[in-house]
Protein backbone atom coordinates (compact mmCIF):
# COMPACT_ATOMS: atom_id res chain seq x y z
CA UNK A 1 0.00 0.00 0.00
CA UNK A 2 2.80 2.40 0.93
CA UNK A 3 6.35 2.30 -0.38
CA UNK A 4 9.00 4.79 0.63
CA UNK A 5 12.41 4.54 -1.04
CA UNK A 6 15.50 6.46 -0.07
CA UNK A 7 13.50 9.40 1.20
CA UNK A 8 15.49 12.53 2.03
CA UNK A 9 13.94 15.69 3.48
CA UNK A 10 15.90 18.85 4.20
CA UNK A 11 15.08 22.26 5.55
CA UNK A 12 16.97 25.47 4.86
CA UNK A 13 19.70 26.06 2.33
CA UNK A 14 23.45 26.24 1.93
CA UNK A 15 25.49 25.93 5.09
CA UNK A 16 22.39 26.06 7.30
CA UNK A 17 20.73 23.05 5.68
CA UNK A 18 19.23 20.49 8.04
CA UNK A 19 18.91 16.96 6.77
CA UNK A 20 15.92 15.96 8.85
CA UNK A 21 15.38 12.64 7.03
CA UNK A 22 18.47 10.97 5.61
CA UNK A 23 17.57 8.34 3.06
CA UNK A 24 15.04 6.04 4.65
CA UNK A 25 13.11 3.19 3.04
CA UNK A 26 10.20 1.09 4.20
CA UNK A 27 7.08 -0.64 2.92
CA UNK A 28 3.68 -1.05 4.48
CA UNK A 29 1.30 -3.71 3.15
CA UNK A 30 -2.42 -3.04 2.77
CA UNK A 31 -4.20 -3.64 6.07
CA UNK A 32 -0.99 -3.47 8.04
CA UNK A 33 -0.12 -1.13 10.92
CA UNK A 34 3.43 0.11 10.82
CA UNK A 35 4.94 1.84 13.82
CA UNK A 36 7.54 4.60 13.74
CA UNK A 37 9.32 5.20 17.02
CA UNK A 38 12.53 6.93 17.98
CA UNK A 39 14.22 9.96 19.34
CA UNK A 40 12.43 13.26 19.59
CA UNK A 41 13.52 15.30 16.57
CA UNK A 42 14.63 12.21 14.63
CA UNK A 43 12.31 12.97 11.71
CA UNK A 44 9.19 10.89 12.35
CA UNK A 45 6.68 13.70 11.81
CA UNK A 46 8.71 14.87 8.82
CA UNK A 47 8.26 11.47 7.16
CA UNK A 48 4.49 11.59 7.65
CA UNK A 49 4.32 15.18 6.47
CA UNK A 50 6.30 14.34 3.35
CA UNK A 51 3.91 11.47 2.62
CA UNK A 52 0.87 13.68 2.99
CA UNK A 53 2.35 16.40 0.80
CA UNK A 54 3.14 18.99 3.45
CA UNK A 55 6.91 18.95 2.97
CA UNK A 56 7.61 19.75 -0.69
CA UNK A 57 11.38 19.66 -0.24
CA UNK A 58 11.97 15.91 -0.52
CA UNK A 59 13.74 13.51 -2.82
CA UNK A 60 13.51 9.76 -3.29
CA UNK A 61 10.44 7.79 -4.27
CA UNK A 62 7.08 7.42 -2.56
CA UNK A 63 4.16 5.29 -3.73
CA UNK A 64 0.71 4.96 -2.24
CA UNK A 65 -1.72 2.40 -3.64
CA UNK A 66 0.51 1.92 -6.68
CA UNK A 67 0.61 5.62 -7.55
CA UNK A 68 3.93 7.46 -7.56
CA UNK A 69 3.68 10.63 -5.51
CA UNK A 70 4.82 13.92 -7.00
CA UNK A 71 5.36 17.27 -5.36
CA UNK A 72 1.64 18.02 -5.31
CA UNK A 73 -1.19 15.91 -4.04
CA UNK A 74 -4.51 15.58 -5.81
CA UNK A 75 -7.94 15.82 -4.24
CA UNK A 76 -8.29 12.07 -4.73
CA UNK A 77 -5.12 11.55 -2.71
CA UNK A 78 -6.63 13.28 0.30
CA UNK A 79 -9.71 11.13 0.07
CA UNK A 80 -7.37 8.13 0.20
CA UNK A 81 -4.86 9.33 2.78
CA UNK A 82 -5.59 11.40 5.86
CA UNK A 83 -3.29 12.52 8.62
CA UNK A 84 -3.91 13.12 12.32
CA UNK A 85 -1.43 15.73 13.47
CA UNK A 86 0.76 15.58 16.51
CA UNK A 87 -0.41 18.85 17.88
CA UNK A 88 -4.16 19.03 18.46
CA UNK A 89 -4.16 22.78 19.16
CA UNK A 90 -2.27 23.92 16.12
CA UNK A 91 -4.24 21.70 13.78
CA UNK A 92 -7.65 23.15 14.65
CA UNK A 93 -8.55 26.65 13.56
CA UNK A 94 -9.20 28.67 16.74
CA UNK A 95 -12.24 30.47 15.35
CA UNK A 96 -13.95 27.50 13.72
CA UNK A 97 -16.51 25.44 15.59
CA UNK A 98 -16.25 21.66 15.65
CA UNK A 99 -19.14 21.63 13.21
CA UNK A 100 -17.23 23.76 10.72
CA UNK A 101 -14.03 21.73 11.15
CA UNK A 102 -15.94 18.60 10.20
CA UNK A 103 -18.12 20.16 7.50
CA UNK A 104 -15.25 21.64 5.53
CA UNK A 105 -13.64 18.46 4.18
CA UNK A 106 -17.12 17.18 3.28
CA UNK A 107 -17.81 20.35 1.29
CA UNK A 108 -14.45 20.22 -0.50
CA UNK A 109 -15.13 16.68 -1.63
CA UNK A 110 -18.76 17.39 -2.48
CA UNK A 111 -20.11 14.79 -0.10
CA UNK A 112 -23.78 14.72 0.78
CA UNK A 113 -25.55 13.77 3.98
CA UNK A 114 -23.43 16.26 5.92
CA UNK A 115 -25.48 16.29 9.12
CA UNK A 116 -25.56 12.57 9.52
CA UNK A 117 -21.85 12.20 8.77
CA UNK A 118 -20.89 14.84 11.31
CA UNK A 119 -23.01 13.30 14.02
CA UNK A 120 -21.72 9.81 13.29
CA UNK A 121 -18.12 11.01 13.32
CA UNK A 122 -18.60 12.71 16.68
CA UNK A 123 -20.23 9.65 18.19
CA UNK A 124 -17.50 7.39 16.82
CA UNK A 125 -14.81 9.32 18.68
CA UNK A 126 -16.86 9.44 21.86
CA UNK A 127 -18.00 13.06 21.70
CA UNK A 128 -21.71 13.63 21.90
CA UNK A 129 -23.67 16.11 19.79
CA UNK A 130 -23.25 18.64 22.64
CA UNK A 131 -19.74 19.30 21.37
CA UNK A 132 -20.76 20.08 17.83
CA UNK A 133 -20.94 23.84 18.18
CA UNK A 134 -18.03 24.38 20.56
CA UNK A 135 -14.83 26.21 19.70
CA UNK A 136 -11.41 24.62 20.29
CA UNK A 137 -10.73 26.75 23.39
CA UNK A 138 -13.85 25.32 24.98
CA UNK A 139 -12.46 21.80 24.79
CA UNK A 140 -9.87 20.02 26.89
CA UNK A 141 -6.73 18.71 25.21
CA UNK A 142 -8.13 15.23 24.78
CA UNK A 143 -11.45 16.45 23.46
CA UNK A 144 -9.60 18.47 20.83
CA UNK A 145 -7.62 15.46 19.73
CA UNK A 146 -10.82 13.49 19.27
CA UNK A 147 -12.14 16.24 17.01
CA UNK A 148 -8.94 15.96 14.98
CA UNK A 149 -9.45 12.22 14.64
CA UNK A 150 -13.08 12.70 13.68
CA UNK A 151 -11.96 15.11 10.95
CA UNK A 152 -9.54 12.55 9.54
CA UNK A 153 -12.15 9.79 9.57
CA UNK A 154 -14.99 11.74 8.07
CA UNK A 155 -13.79 11.28 4.48
CA UNK A 156 -13.52 7.52 5.05
CA UNK A 157 -9.87 7.28 3.91
CA UNK A 158 -8.04 3.99 3.25
CA UNK A 159 -4.79 5.11 4.81
CA UNK A 160 -4.40 6.96 8.09
CA UNK A 161 -1.13 8.60 9.07
CA UNK A 162 -1.31 8.95 12.83
CA UNK A 163 1.21 11.23 14.52
CA UNK A 164 1.05 10.60 18.27
CA UNK A 165 -2.74 10.28 18.11
CA UNK A 166 -3.16 9.44 21.78
CA UNK A 167 -0.26 11.10 23.56
CA UNK A 168 -2.48 13.94 24.78
CA UNK A 169 -5.26 11.60 25.84
CA UNK A 170 -5.92 9.97 29.16
CA UNK A 171 -5.45 6.23 29.22
CA UNK A 172 -9.13 5.39 29.12
CA UNK A 173 -9.81 7.63 26.13
CA UNK A 174 -6.62 6.26 24.62
CA UNK A 175 -8.09 2.78 25.02
CA UNK A 176 -11.33 3.96 23.38
CA UNK A 177 -9.48 5.54 20.45
CA UNK A 178 -7.18 2.56 19.96
CA UNK A 179 -10.18 0.20 20.06
CA UNK A 180 -11.94 2.48 17.58
CA UNK A 181 -8.94 2.48 15.23
CA UNK A 182 -8.70 -1.31 15.46
CA UNK A 183 -12.39 -1.69 14.73
CA UNK A 184 -12.25 0.66 11.73
CA UNK A 185 -9.24 -1.22 10.49
CA UNK A 186 -11.10 -4.52 10.72
CA UNK A 187 -14.26 -3.17 9.13
CA UNK A 188 -12.76 -1.02 6.40
CA UNK A 189 -9.40 -2.69 5.89
CA UNK A 190 -7.48 0.48 6.67
CA UNK A 191 -3.70 0.81 6.60
CA UNK A 192 -2.00 2.80 9.35
CA UNK A 193 1.35 4.37 9.98
CA UNK A 194 1.50 5.14 13.66
CA UNK A 195 4.08 7.43 15.24
CA UNK A 196 4.22 7.13 18.99
CA UNK A 197 6.62 7.23 21.92
CA UNK A 198 4.65 4.64 23.81
CA UNK A 199 6.10 1.20 23.13
CA UNK A 200 3.15 -0.52 24.77
CA UNK A 201 0.88 1.24 22.27
CA UNK A 202 3.14 0.07 19.45
CA UNK A 203 3.03 -3.48 20.78
CA UNK A 204 -0.76 -3.32 20.97
CA UNK A 205 -1.39 -1.76 17.57
CA UNK A 206 1.41 -2.58 15.17
CA UNK A 207 2.51 -5.53 13.09
CA UNK A 208 5.98 -4.14 12.49
CA UNK A 209 7.95 -1.09 13.50
CA UNK A 210 10.97 0.97 12.56
CA UNK A 211 13.20 2.71 15.08
CA UNK A 212 14.51 6.11 14.02
CA UNK A 213 17.46 8.09 15.28
CA UNK A 214 18.90 11.29 13.81
CA UNK A 215 17.05 11.04 10.49
CA UNK A 216 17.74 7.37 9.84
CA UNK A 217 15.99 4.08 10.44
CA UNK A 218 18.39 2.20 12.69
CA UNK A 219 16.36 -0.97 13.02
CA UNK A 220 13.18 -2.63 11.79
CA UNK A 221 11.50 -5.38 13.74
CA UNK A 222 8.21 -7.16 14.16
CA UNK A 223 6.03 -6.87 17.19
CA UNK A 224 6.99 -10.29 18.59
CA UNK A 225 10.61 -9.14 18.79
CA UNK A 226 9.47 -5.94 20.48
CA UNK A 227 7.50 -7.89 23.07
CA UNK A 228 10.51 -10.07 23.81
CA UNK A 229 12.68 -6.95 24.02
CA UNK A 230 15.01 -8.27 21.33
CA UNK A 231 16.94 -5.37 19.86
CA UNK A 232 20.13 -5.60 17.84
CA UNK A 233 21.02 -1.92 17.96
CA UNK A 234 22.34 -0.16 21.05
CA UNK A 235 19.95 2.78 20.55
CA UNK A 236 16.94 0.47 20.46
CA UNK A 237 18.13 -1.31 23.60
CA UNK A 238 18.41 2.03 25.38
CA UNK A 239 14.90 2.92 24.24
CA UNK A 240 13.55 -0.37 25.61
CA UNK A 241 15.28 0.15 28.93
CA UNK A 242 13.98 3.68 29.33
CA UNK A 243 10.43 2.48 28.71
CA UNK A 244 10.54 0.48 31.94
CA UNK A 245 9.81 3.65 33.93
CA UNK A 246 11.75 6.45 35.59
CA UNK A 247 14.90 5.59 37.43
CA UNK A 248 17.45 8.23 38.42
CA UNK A 249 20.43 5.92 38.11
CA UNK A 250 19.35 4.62 34.71
CA UNK A 251 18.80 8.20 33.53
CA UNK A 252 22.43 8.97 34.28
CA UNK A 253 23.63 6.18 32.00
CA UNK A 254 21.70 7.32 28.92
CA UNK A 255 23.81 8.51 26.04
CA UNK A 256 23.14 10.36 22.79
CA UNK A 257 23.74 8.37 19.62
CA UNK A 258 25.13 10.11 16.56
Amino acid sequence: MIEVGNLEVSFGEGAAVIRAVRGISFEVAAGETFGLVGESGSGKSTVLRALSGLNPNWSGAMHVDGQALGKRRSKAFHKLVQMVFQDPYGSLHPRHTVDRVLAEPLAIHGMVDVDRRIETALVEVGLGPAFRFRYPHQLSGGQRQRVAIARALILEPKVLLLDEPTSSLDVSVQAEILNLLQRLKRERGLTFILVTHNLAVVAHMCDRLAVMNAGRIVEEMDVAELRRGEASEAYTRQLFNASLGYNRARARELITFE
Partner: protein
Protein backbone atom coordinates in the same frame (compact mmCIF):
# COMPACT_ATOMS: atom_id res chain seq x y z
CA UNK B 1 5.96 17.38 55.23
CA UNK B 2 7.23 20.62 56.78
CA UNK B 3 5.59 23.94 55.78
CA UNK B 4 3.93 23.29 52.42
CA UNK B 5 4.94 25.56 49.59
CA UNK B 6 1.40 25.77 48.28
CA UNK B 7 -1.76 25.09 50.15
CA UNK B 8 -5.17 25.09 48.49
CA UNK B 9 -8.61 24.59 50.02
CA UNK B 10 -12.03 24.58 48.43
CA UNK B 11 -10.90 25.52 44.94
CA UNK B 12 -13.69 25.94 42.40
CA UNK B 13 -13.46 26.81 38.72
CA UNK B 14 -16.57 27.32 36.64
CA UNK B 15 -17.36 28.57 33.17
CA UNK B 16 -20.52 30.39 32.26
CA UNK B 17 -21.49 29.24 28.79
CA UNK B 18 -24.64 29.83 26.75
CA UNK B 19 -25.56 26.21 27.48
CA UNK B 20 -25.20 26.64 31.22
CA UNK B 21 -22.47 26.45 33.82
CA UNK B 22 -19.55 24.06 33.36
CA UNK B 23 -18.09 23.15 36.73
CA UNK B 24 -14.50 22.34 35.78
CA UNK B 25 -13.12 22.13 39.34
CA UNK B 26 -15.48 21.41 42.23
CA UNK B 27 -14.05 22.27 45.59
CA UNK B 28 -10.68 20.58 45.82
CA UNK B 29 -7.95 20.91 48.41
CA UNK B 30 -4.31 19.83 48.31
CA UNK B 31 -0.85 20.80 49.44
CA UNK B 32 2.45 20.80 47.61
CA UNK B 33 5.71 20.63 49.50
CA UNK B 34 9.23 20.42 48.16
CA UNK B 35 8.26 17.20 46.43
CA UNK B 36 7.01 15.71 43.18
CA UNK B 37 3.23 15.67 43.27
CA UNK B 38 1.59 13.84 40.38
CA UNK B 39 -1.85 14.86 39.14
CA UNK B 40 -3.60 12.33 36.96
CA UNK B 41 -7.14 11.84 35.78
CA UNK B 42 -9.06 11.56 32.59
CA UNK B 43 -9.32 14.21 29.94
CA UNK B 44 -11.55 17.06 31.07
CA UNK B 45 -11.28 16.18 34.76
CA UNK B 46 -9.89 19.62 35.60
CA UNK B 47 -6.13 19.10 35.88
CA UNK B 48 -5.12 22.01 33.68
CA UNK B 49 -7.69 24.34 35.22
CA UNK B 50 -6.34 23.47 38.67
CA UNK B 51 -2.83 24.40 37.57
CA UNK B 52 -3.91 27.56 35.81
CA UNK B 53 -5.99 28.80 38.70
CA UNK B 54 -2.93 28.78 40.97
CA UNK B 55 -1.36 31.32 38.61
CA UNK B 56 -4.62 33.18 38.08
CA UNK B 57 -4.48 32.33 34.40
CA UNK B 58 -8.17 31.62 33.93
CA UNK B 59 -9.84 34.14 31.72
CA UNK B 60 -13.49 35.13 31.68
CA UNK B 61 -16.03 33.58 31.35
CA UNK B 62 -14.05 31.38 33.71
CA UNK B 63 -14.46 32.12 37.39
CA UNK B 64 -12.17 30.95 40.19
CA UNK B 65 -13.04 30.77 43.86
CA UNK B 66 -11.14 29.28 46.76
CA UNK B 67 -11.54 29.14 50.52
CA UNK B 68 -7.81 29.42 50.79
CA UNK B 69 -4.89 29.53 48.38
CA UNK B 70 -1.56 30.34 49.99
CA UNK B 71 1.86 30.19 48.37
CA UNK B 72 4.85 30.56 50.68
CA UNK B 73 3.01 32.97 52.96
CA UNK B 74 1.35 34.91 50.12
CA UNK B 75 -2.41 34.80 49.98
CA UNK B 76 -2.90 34.28 46.25
CA UNK B 77 -6.53 35.33 46.53
CA UNK B 78 -5.79 38.67 48.13
CA UNK B 79 -2.74 39.98 46.28
CA UNK B 80 -3.18 42.41 43.42
CA UNK B 81 -2.16 41.83 39.82
CA UNK B 82 1.17 43.62 40.28
CA UNK B 83 2.19 41.31 43.08
CA UNK B 84 0.90 38.34 41.10
CA UNK B 85 3.15 39.28 38.21
CA UNK B 86 6.11 39.13 40.57
CA UNK B 87 5.20 35.58 41.48
CA UNK B 88 4.18 34.36 38.05
CA UNK B 89 7.15 33.10 36.10
CA UNK B 90 9.70 34.05 38.71
CA UNK B 91 8.47 32.03 41.69
CA UNK B 92 5.76 29.82 40.22
CA UNK B 93 6.13 28.78 36.61
CA UNK B 94 3.90 26.66 34.44
CA UNK B 95 4.92 24.53 31.49
CA UNK B 96 1.82 24.63 29.32
CA UNK B 97 0.21 21.53 27.91
CA UNK B 98 0.65 22.75 24.38
CA UNK B 99 3.99 24.52 24.08
CA UNK B 100 3.72 25.50 20.45
CA UNK B 101 0.44 27.20 21.14
CA UNK B 102 1.91 29.08 24.09
CA UNK B 103 5.07 30.25 22.35
CA UNK B 104 5.18 33.43 20.28
CA UNK B 105 5.02 32.19 16.66
CA UNK B 106 7.03 35.08 15.20
CA UNK B 107 9.93 35.09 17.64
CA UNK B 108 12.96 32.78 17.65
CA UNK B 109 12.62 30.20 20.39
CA UNK B 110 16.06 31.09 21.78
CA UNK B 111 15.15 34.75 22.09
CA UNK B 112 11.97 33.80 23.93
CA UNK B 113 13.94 31.83 26.50
CA UNK B 114 16.52 34.61 26.85
CA UNK B 115 13.71 37.11 27.36
CA UNK B 116 12.25 35.02 30.16
CA UNK B 117 15.65 35.22 31.82
CA UNK B 118 16.12 38.96 31.26
CA UNK B 119 12.73 39.80 32.74
CA UNK B 120 13.78 38.39 36.07
CA UNK B 121 17.57 38.89 36.12
CA UNK B 122 19.64 42.01 35.65
CA UNK B 123 22.16 40.63 33.19
CA UNK B 124 23.37 41.59 29.72
CA UNK B 125 22.03 40.17 26.47
CA UNK B 126 25.20 38.18 25.85
CA UNK B 127 24.98 36.44 29.20
CA UNK B 128 21.29 35.70 28.68
CA UNK B 129 22.14 34.09 25.34
CA UNK B 130 24.82 31.96 26.89
CA UNK B 131 22.54 30.86 29.71
CA UNK B 132 19.85 30.01 27.15
CA UNK B 133 22.22 27.81 25.16
CA UNK B 134 23.24 26.04 28.38
CA UNK B 135 19.58 25.50 29.25
CA UNK B 136 18.82 24.07 25.79
CA UNK B 137 21.74 21.69 26.18
CA UNK B 138 20.53 20.76 29.66
CA UNK B 139 17.16 19.66 28.27
CA UNK B 140 19.08 17.50 25.77
CA UNK B 141 18.45 19.55 22.66
CA UNK B 142 20.93 18.43 20.01
CA UNK B 143 22.75 21.39 18.53
CA UNK B 144 21.47 24.24 20.77
CA UNK B 145 23.03 26.96 18.60
CA UNK B 146 20.96 25.89 15.61
CA UNK B 147 17.76 25.45 17.56
CA UNK B 148 18.19 28.89 19.22
CA UNK B 149 17.44 30.50 15.84
CA UNK B 150 14.40 28.39 14.94
CA UNK B 151 10.82 29.62 15.06
CA UNK B 152 8.22 27.54 16.92
CA UNK B 153 6.83 25.96 13.74
CA UNK B 154 10.32 24.73 12.87
CA UNK B 155 10.88 22.63 15.96
CA UNK B 156 9.52 19.12 16.47
CA UNK B 157 6.82 18.38 19.05
CA UNK B 158 9.27 17.16 21.65
CA UNK B 159 11.70 19.99 20.97
CA UNK B 160 8.88 22.47 21.59
CA UNK B 161 8.18 20.87 24.96
CA UNK B 162 11.82 21.16 25.92
CA UNK B 163 11.99 24.78 24.76
CA UNK B 164 9.03 25.53 26.99
CA UNK B 165 10.63 23.65 29.84
CA UNK B 166 13.90 25.58 29.43
CA UNK B 167 11.99 28.84 29.39
CA UNK B 168 10.12 28.05 32.59
CA UNK B 169 13.16 26.72 34.44
CA UNK B 170 15.54 29.52 33.56
CA UNK B 171 14.23 31.96 36.25
CA UNK B 172 14.66 29.11 38.80
CA UNK B 173 11.10 29.02 40.17
CA UNK B 174 10.26 27.62 43.60
CA UNK B 175 7.21 25.83 42.29
CA UNK B 176 6.90 24.37 38.82
CA UNK B 177 3.54 23.33 37.43
CA UNK B 178 4.30 21.04 34.51
CA UNK B 179 1.27 20.18 32.38
CA UNK B 180 2.04 17.06 30.35
CA UNK B 181 5.63 18.22 29.93
CA UNK B 182 6.98 15.02 28.41
CA UNK B 183 4.05 13.64 26.41
CA UNK B 184 5.82 14.34 23.09
CA UNK B 185 9.24 13.11 24.17
CA UNK B 186 10.65 9.71 23.46
CA UNK B 187 11.23 7.69 26.58
CA UNK B 188 14.99 8.26 26.71
CA UNK B 189 14.84 12.04 26.38
CA UNK B 190 11.86 12.08 28.70
CA UNK B 191 13.86 10.28 31.36
CA UNK B 192 16.73 12.74 31.00
CA UNK B 193 14.43 15.73 31.32
CA UNK B 194 12.72 14.20 34.34
CA UNK B 195 16.12 13.68 35.93
CA UNK B 196 16.66 17.45 35.73
CA UNK B 197 13.35 18.10 37.48
CA UNK B 198 14.12 15.39 40.01
CA UNK B 199 17.44 17.05 40.86
CA UNK B 200 15.79 20.47 41.20
CA UNK B 201 13.35 18.99 43.69
CA UNK B 202 15.80 16.94 45.71
CA UNK B 203 18.77 19.32 45.57
CA UNK B 204 17.25 22.79 45.34
CA UNK B 205 13.98 22.11 47.13
CA UNK B 206 11.72 23.05 44.26
CA UNK B 207 8.10 21.93 44.44
CA UNK B 208 6.69 20.17 41.38
CA UNK B 209 3.10 19.65 40.30
CA UNK B 210 3.40 17.07 37.56
CA UNK B 211 0.25 16.72 35.46
CA UNK B 212 0.31 13.61 33.33
CA UNK B 213 -1.71 10.86 31.70
CA UNK B 214 1.14 8.43 31.93
CA UNK B 215 0.32 6.33 34.98
CA UNK B 216 3.47 4.22 34.77
CA UNK B 217 5.61 7.31 34.59
CA UNK B 218 3.87 9.01 37.51
CA UNK B 219 4.12 5.83 39.58
CA UNK B 220 7.87 5.61 39.01
CA UNK B 221 8.72 9.32 39.08
CA UNK B 222 6.51 11.11 41.62
CA UNK B 223 6.34 11.00 45.41
CA UNK B 224 2.59 11.37 45.83
CA UNK B 225 -0.35 11.26 43.42
CA UNK B 226 -3.70 13.03 43.22
CA UNK B 227 -6.32 11.40 41.02
CA UNK B 228 -9.01 13.68 39.62
CA UNK B 229 -12.43 12.84 38.27
CA UNK B 230 -15.07 15.33 37.12
CA UNK B 231 -13.46 18.26 38.91
CA UNK B 232 -12.89 16.44 42.19
CA UNK B 233 -10.01 14.61 43.82
CA UNK B 234 -11.28 11.06 44.18
CA UNK B 235 -8.09 9.44 45.43
CA UNK B 236 -4.70 10.35 46.83
CA UNK B 237 -1.89 7.91 47.43
CA UNK B 238 1.85 7.38 47.50
CA UNK B 239 3.12 7.14 43.94
CA UNK B 240 4.74 3.81 44.70
CA UNK B 241 1.31 2.48 45.70
CA UNK B 242 -0.57 3.77 42.65
CA UNK B 243 -0.81 0.29 41.14
CA UNK B 244 -2.68 -0.85 44.26
CA UNK B 245 -5.18 2.01 44.03
CA UNK B 246 -8.48 1.44 45.84
CA UNK B 247 -10.90 3.68 43.97
CA UNK B 248 -12.70 1.85 41.14
CA UNK B 249 -12.06 4.82 38.85
CA UNK B 250 -8.30 4.67 39.39
CA UNK B 251 -8.42 0.91 38.98
CA UNK B 252 -10.34 1.39 35.74
CA UNK B 253 -7.67 3.74 34.42
CA UNK B 254 -4.93 1.26 35.27
CA UNK B 255 -6.84 -1.56 33.61
CA UNK B 256 -7.10 0.31 30.32
CA UNK B 257 -3.34 0.39 29.70
CA UNK B 258 -1.99 -1.63 26.79
CA UNK B 259 0.84 -3.95 27.77
CA UNK B 260 4.17 -4.54 26.17
CA UNK B 261 4.79 -7.96 27.70
CA UNK B 262 1.63 -9.66 26.48
CA UNK B 263 -1.14 -8.99 23.96
CA UNK B 264 -4.60 -7.94 25.10
CA UNK B 265 -7.46 -8.20 22.64
CA UNK B 266 -9.82 -5.31 23.19
CA UNK B 267 -8.55 -2.73 25.70
CA UNK B 268 -10.81 -2.26 28.67
CA UNK B 269 -12.44 1.15 28.94
CA UNK B 270 -14.06 2.90 31.88
CA UNK B 271 -17.67 2.27 32.65
CA UNK B 272 -18.45 5.33 34.68
CA UNK B 273 -20.39 4.96 37.88
CA UNK B 274 -22.57 8.00 38.67
CA UNK B 275 -21.46 7.63 42.30
CA UNK B 276 -17.92 8.72 41.37
CA UNK B 277 -19.06 12.30 40.89
CA UNK B 278 -19.97 12.95 44.50
CA UNK B 279 -19.49 9.64 46.29
CA UNK B 280 -16.81 8.50 48.74
CA UNK B 281 -13.16 9.17 47.98
CA UNK B 282 -9.97 7.33 48.90
CA UNK B 283 -7.34 9.08 50.98
CA UNK B 284 -4.10 7.13 51.27
CA UNK B 285 -5.79 3.77 50.99
CA UNK B 286 -8.87 4.54 53.12
CA UNK B 287 -12.39 5.25 51.88
CA UNK B 288 -13.85 8.45 53.31
CA UNK B 289 -17.14 10.31 52.89
Amino acid sequence: MSQPLLSVEGLEVRFHTPKGIVEAVRGIGFEVGREKLGIVGESGSGKTMTGRSVLRLIRPPGEVRAKRMVFDGNDLEAIDEVAMREIRGRRIAMVMQDPKFSLNPVMKVGDQIAEAYLVHRKVGAEQARKRTLDMLAAVKIRDPARVYDLYPHEVSGGMGQRVMMAMMLIPEPDLLIADEPTSALDVTVSMQVLAILDDLVTQRGMGLMFISHDLNLVASFCDRVIIMYAGRIVETCKASELKQAKHPYTQGLLASLPRIDRPVGELSVLSRDPAWRDGPVVVDGKMVG
